[in-house]
């Protein structure tokens, strides 16, 4: 197997909050290899976007970061700001959620490319920059005739393609795509997802695709990481995780997704926990239908189950007195998210 592009170990991102630190990302591990697409899925507030921004070094002041991020032989968190800035774009690319607002309306598409390439690839001549930009746009199906147009002259899907082309023009080894299709229509979404899946193969770029939509994960990713309340509770190959989810949260999330085959609605009782004072033990235990006594006391250790890595007591040997079912607290309908 090829060397990992990025290795994340015990990454923590805490924000300062009025009631104490908000543990937005609280001990996350994952590895990405060239050409691999990892889907990071979770509900709003689970810390998935914070994780993406933490990797880019784009956190607001007041955020504390701990753990290790190894990228391309460097330990990112220990590098000086200058090195991190240099990496951003050329080493790690970012594709944002809203293509409508991320391009400068006063700059032509050509200027966007020129600026990014000038900043990161100082040796390229003007002509070379244009060739690089046009190649990148062409790969994403933007006709060269539109190179000098302004962003408003493009539709939402075209703008997202331009954003992706802009990220690709710098040839990063790793791209973070944060909900890249949320603002787009179904057909355009499908086009963009296909493009992202192809990028992995064509340019052997590793991609972290952040989304809340399990359907998108199934369509575009090789592996999936399910995030709940700041932790990755399960990760593994998409097929394995979707066919036999090892964590009760993954299972419940899959069941509550409305798909074309949904005959009956299902939902997870309760709401995600407060990240200032997360519950003791496993973060999911107050909502978990399979919770045991031990789940409310001690956080479960990570464990490999086949190709999946999961944090759940169901996969551990638990003493009989600890394995008694936990009586769930009554949840009012109104308290559900």
């Amino acid at each position: 197997m090829s060397e990992p592009v990025i290795e994340v170990e015990n990454l923590r991102v805490w924000y300062s909050g009025s009631g104490g630190p908000v543990r937005a990302v609280d001990g996350v591990d994952f590895v990405l290899r060239p050409g691999e697409v990892l889907g990071l899925v979770g509900e709003s507030g689970c810390g998935k976007s914070t994780l993406g921004r933490g990797l880019m070094g784009l956190l607001p002041p007041g955020a504390a970061v701990g753990g290790t991020i190894r990228f391309d032989g460097q330990s990112l968190l220990e590098e000086p700001v200058k090195v991190r800035n240099r990496n951003r774009g050329s080493g790690i690319g970012l594709i944002f959620q809203e293509p409508m607002t991320r391009l400068d309306p006063l700059m032509r598409v050509s200027d966007h490319f020129d600026e990014a390439l000038k900043r990161h690839e100082k040796r390229l001549s003007k002509k070379e920059r244009e060739i690089r930009a046009l190649d990148s746009l062409r790969a994403l199906g933007i006709p060269p005739t539109r190179y000098r147009n302004y962003p408003h002259e493009f539709s939402g899907g075209m703008r997202q393609r331009i954003m992706i082309a802009l990220a690709l023009a710098l040839r990063p080894k790793f791209i973070i795509a944060d909900e890249p299709t949320t603002a787009l229509d179904v057909l355009v979404e499908a086009q963009i997802l296909r493009i992202l899946a192809e990028i992995g193969e064509k340019f052997s770029t590793a991609i972290l695709l952040i989304t809340h939509n399990l359907g998108i994960i199934a369509e575009a990713c090789d592996r999936v990481a399910v995030m709940y309340a700041g932790r990755i509770v399960e990760q593994g190959p998409v097929r394995d995780v979707f066919a036999s989810p090892a964590h009760p949260y993954t299972r419940e999330l899959l069941r509550s997704t409305i798909s074309l085959t949904t005959k009956e609605l299902h939902s997870i009782p309760g709401a995600p926990p407060d990240l200032v004072q997360p519950p003791p033990g496993c973060n999911f235990h107050p909502r978990c239908p399979s919770a045991m006594l031990i789940c409310a006391r001690t956080p479960p250790p990570p464990r490999d189950v086949g190709a999946q890595r999961v944090e759940c007591w169901l996969h551990e040997t638990v003493a009989p007195q600890d394995a008694q079912p936990l009586t769930p607290l009554e949840v009012l309908v109104a308290d559900e998210a």
Partner: protein, 452 residues
């Protein structure tokens, strides 16, 4: 109206099938803004046909889904039902009384019966009002439940009905103190507090988290059962529409292209656009890795809609009568140029400099102006040889080199209309299902690439 009123829930059959809402040939046009100079010199401003001749009925107790991409006119249609946009033609009747052109003072009493749930729960409650006030105001405006005390009781009832119980916990909360799902519940409470008959729900769950969507959709289903509500459910999410609706209308560029019972639409989609939409729904089943044919491009600019069937430029099975025009040749060339080397692009694009007036149209053809007609003819012939399956070529009758440029003779354009399909309850607007009526284009051209 080609569709039959059916699929009513049993308790409503008593109203002998009289439609609650009937929309006939509805048109909503928006004028495009032009700059001050153009207005001075009398430059004509274009119009966008947001809704372009729609017929639709809502039977009592029925849930009709309006499905389409952004820009398809589905929200505009929903707003027109509530009188929030003024139609430029056609009629909407509610229990037999005309709504189009009704002055606001006369419309207002009807709004009690016609309510709306908006997409964004974070933006549809006033942040400076408590939940109780937001819902109570609606009751006050409609002069229901006279005094503040009885109003408060009615508000509490509405809150408990949507699951915000005990109401005392929520009635004095501000919008900022509620979660996304709770806000949407409050919005629904506001809509049902007035005792409406019809609810226009515009993407009510699309802004919510996956695990909350099922809860809100379940609530809407319960309310339908308990209160006998009729819904116009506007969405781009086919999965929730399949679960929630009785009938579905698929919209594209202001027109309904296919309408019918939900089971029929999902099991036997007919219109190529419906097929494409269904194929594009991301499905959480990784074993389903069918290679899909995605339509190219995006929903076109409604101010310059394609001629003929407006889906033809993107349609993988379009054929001769679908409405080919000069613009389609330009799209074809732009597509070609994304795949050729830079030098070839420079050489070929020099042939057709004038992007804006790419082709001048006449009834049966288009003229592509160029200074070197022979080179352009060679280019087009080469393109045709490389991709003979391109649907555009089915509509090109002749390609002649002229001294001004290249003249294309195109097949006669026929705009498809929404018509019932024999032996089903579905109506489709597509030439594949109805004889286009042009000589030499018999309905056997159902095989897409048969003609040439």
């Amino acid at each position: 109206m080609p569709t039959k009123p059916e699929q009513m829930s049993s308790q409503d059959a008593a109203t002998n099938g009289e439609p609650l809402i009937e929309i006939r040939d509805l048109h909503v046009d928006f004028a495009l803004r032009t700059n001050a100079f153009a207005r001075l010199v009398g430059g004509s401003s274009g119009t966008v046909r947001a809704v372009d001749g729609v017929n639709l009925t809502l039977a009592p107790g029925e849930v009709v889904g309006l499905v389409g991409e952004s820009g398809s006119g589905k929200s505009t249609l929903g707003r027109a039902v509530l009188g929030l946009v003024s139609p430029s033609g056609g009629s909407i009747t509610y229990r037999g009384s005309e709504l189009v052109g009704l002055p606001e003072p006369k419309f207002r009493p009807l709004r009690r019966k016609l309510q709306m749930i908006f997409q964004d729960p974070h933006a549809s409650l006033n942040p400076s009002m408590t939940v109780g006030r937001a819902i109570g105001d609606a009751l006050r405006i409609h002069k229901l439940h006279g005094g503040p005390e009885s109003r408060r009781i009615a508000v509490a009832e509405a809150l408990e009905r949507v699951g915000l119980a005990p109401a005392s916990r929520f009635i004095d909360k501000y919008h900022g103190e509620l979660s996304g799902g709770q806000k949407q519940r409050a919005v629904i409470a506001r809509a049902i507090a007035l005792g409406p008959e019809v609810i226009v729900a515009d993407e009510p769950i699309s802004m919510l988290d996956m695990s909350v969507r099922a809860k809100i959709l379940g609530l809407l289903t319960d309310l339908r059962r308990d209160l006998g509500l009729t819904y116009l459910y506007i969405t781009h999410d086919l999965a929730s529409a399949r679960f929630f609706c009785d009938r579905i209308a698929i919209m594209y560029l202001g027109k309904i292209v296919e309408i019918g019972p939900v089971a029929e639409i999902f099991e036997h989609p007919r219109h190529p656009y419906t097929k494409a939409l269904l194929g594009a729904v991301p499905d959480p089943d990784p074993t389903r890795t069918v290679p899909r044919e995605l339509p190219r491009g995006e929903i076109p600019d409604a101010s310059a809609a394609p001629l003929g069937c407006s889906f033809h430029p993107r349609c993988p099975v379009a054929f001769a009568p679908c409405g080919w025009e000069g613009r389609d040749v330009r799209m074809l060339l732009e597509q070609r140029w994304t795949a050729v080397p830079a030098e070839q692009y420079a050489r070929e694009s020099a042939l057709v400099r004038d992007g804006a007036n790419f082709a001048s149209e006449s009834d049966h053809g288009a003229l592509i102006r160029t200074s070197s007609p022979d080179d352009l003819t060679n280019l087009l012939t080469d393109e045709r040889a490389q991709r003979p399956d391109e649907p555009l070529w089915t509509g090109v009758r002749e390609l002649v080199t002229d001294h001004k440029g290249v003249r294309l003779t195109l097949a006669e354009r026929v705009t498809p209309t929404l018509r019932p399909v024999d032996g089903s309850e579905v109506s489709v607007s597509c030439h594949l299902f109805h004889d286009s009526g042009v000589a030499g284009e018999a309905s056997d051209s159902i095989l897409p690439k048969a003609s040439g």
